[in-house]
């Protein structure tokens, strides 16, 4: 299992946090890094979309979104009945795990680059498409039978929240401009992508370290959930990718999307739509456990599974 050096920056950040270094990435720099990553991913996806026929995607798209909706529906009862968490907490965490993490996805793309594997460019579109059903299911699960849902606010938060907005905006600009038109922007958005991802991982390490303490208070169940859930979702992604005839690379990315849990877009949306849920629980498990699990162990494992099923698959 070879390492992607970029994940070492996560360890460096986590070490800084745990060892109480005074290293701190200013909030405005964090915001700038995340704007950069979202736009860059969007642009890259848009350019790829422009090159390939869209109908190819439509075929598998519905299946991918539909199967993705299984994840929160699976996670919710586990959290509620095995973990004995409150209804809002269970629903909110389920929504986080149904959503996707742009940074985990980026590490997956980087991993494929290192393995010289290609992938279906339209996978990036699912960064946008998987978010919404997960969040809506989360709210429905939280509200089931209890009072009104502020759908307006939620939908606004989902569609016009920074993450989806920049991803979708980047997709659109990349699609309109195409590979040629976007070329003068390559030097910023594509060439620097991996370096910026490294800095972002440094910050994620810092934040994850500060979240570990929160998590300790909630015991072993949540830690176990944060490791087993992505494995289950990852397997779902591998199998579905193979059934849909995706390449090995595309299959890995689908598994990574399913297995990843959102810790940026979903927290903001859930804070508005399900405010009774304790954000420390969902962010603690998504960022403190699942995120490092995926980038260090999950992605290599899903890759191994994707190759296995593609080569030896029935």
């Amino acid at each position: 299992m070879t390492f992607e050096p970029v994940v070492l920056f996560f360890l460096l950040g986590a070490a800084a946090g745990l060892l109480r270094s005074d290293l701190k990435i200013p909030g405005s720099i964090y915001d700038a890094l995340s704007i950069f990553l979202l736009l860059a991913i969007g642009l890259k996806g848009g350019v790829k979309l422009a090159e390939h026929p869209l109908n190819e995607m439509l075929a598998s798209g519905a299946a991918i979104v539909f199967a993705g909706a299984l994840i929160p529906l699976l996670a919710f009862p586990a959290l509620r009945y095995l973990g004995r968490l409150s209804r809002p907490d269970s629903a909110s965490i389920a929504a986080h795990y149904g959503s996707v993490s742009v940074v985990t996805f980026s590490v997956g793309v980087t991993f494929l680059g290192q393995k010289l594997e290609t992938f279906e460019g339209y996978m990036i579109v699912f960064l946008v498409l998987l978010e919404m059903p997960a969040l809506m299911l989360g709210v429905l699960l939280a509200r089931h039978g209890q009072g009104e849902v502020r759908w307006g606010k939620l939908l606004h938060e989902v569609f016009f929240g920074k993450s989806i907005f920049l991803l979708a905006g980047g997709l659109l600009i990349g699609y309109i401009a195409g590979s040629e038109g976007i070329k003068p922007l390559d030097k910023l958005f594509f060439d620097l992508f991996k370096g910026v991802l490294a800095l972002f991982l440094l910050e994620m390490g810092l934040v994850a370290a500060s979240r570990i303490a929160d998590l300790r208070a909630y015991g072993a169940f949540l830690v176990g959930f944060a490791i087993i859930m992505p494995l289950i979702s990852g397997v779902l992604g591998v199998v579905l990718g193979w059934l849909l005839g995706l390449s090995v690379g595309g299959t890995l990315l689908l598994a990574t999307l399913y297995a990843s849990a959102s810790y940026i877009a979903a927290p903001a949306a859930m804070r508005i739509a399900v405010p009774e849920a304790n954000p420390a629980l969902s962010i603690g498990s998504a960022l403190g456990i699942t995120f490092p699990f995926n980038i260090f162990i999950g992605i290599p494992v899903y890759y191994w599974m994707a190759r296995f099923i593609h080569t030896s698959g029935v």
Partner: protein
């Protein structure tokens, strides 16, 4: 130049609520408000301000006692339970 005694209401809450709270405050009749970015700790745990939405805001409103009471009542019933929120008032001499 004449001083006028008014109420200063200080609200400490979550940055994610900024637009919502500003909407409430203006709707209830405030003439203005001032916001600074903050971080802190309270019963809802540490809010380190590591990124914008994860921090706190500190809102100040200068107005008459009645306005401040209306704002306090509204925020109390709507946001107190689920969000980090601390409100306090004092008397100030507005100089104008």
């Amino acid at each position: 130049m004449s001083a006028q005694t008014m109420t200063l209401l200080t609200i400490l809450s979550e940055a994610v609520l900024e637009d919502t709270l500003v909407g409430e405050i203006m709707r209830l009749g405030a003439k203005g408000y001032t916001i600074t970015d903050a971080r802190g700790r309270g019963t809802h745990g540490l809010r380190s301000g590591n990124w914008r939405k994860e921090g706190n805001i500190r809102i100040e409103i200068v107005g008459d006692a009645d306005l401040c009471a209306r704002i306090v009542a509204r925020l109390h019933t709507t946001y107190e339970r689920d969000y980090g929120l601390l409100m306090f008032t004092s008397q100030v001499e507005v100089q104008n």
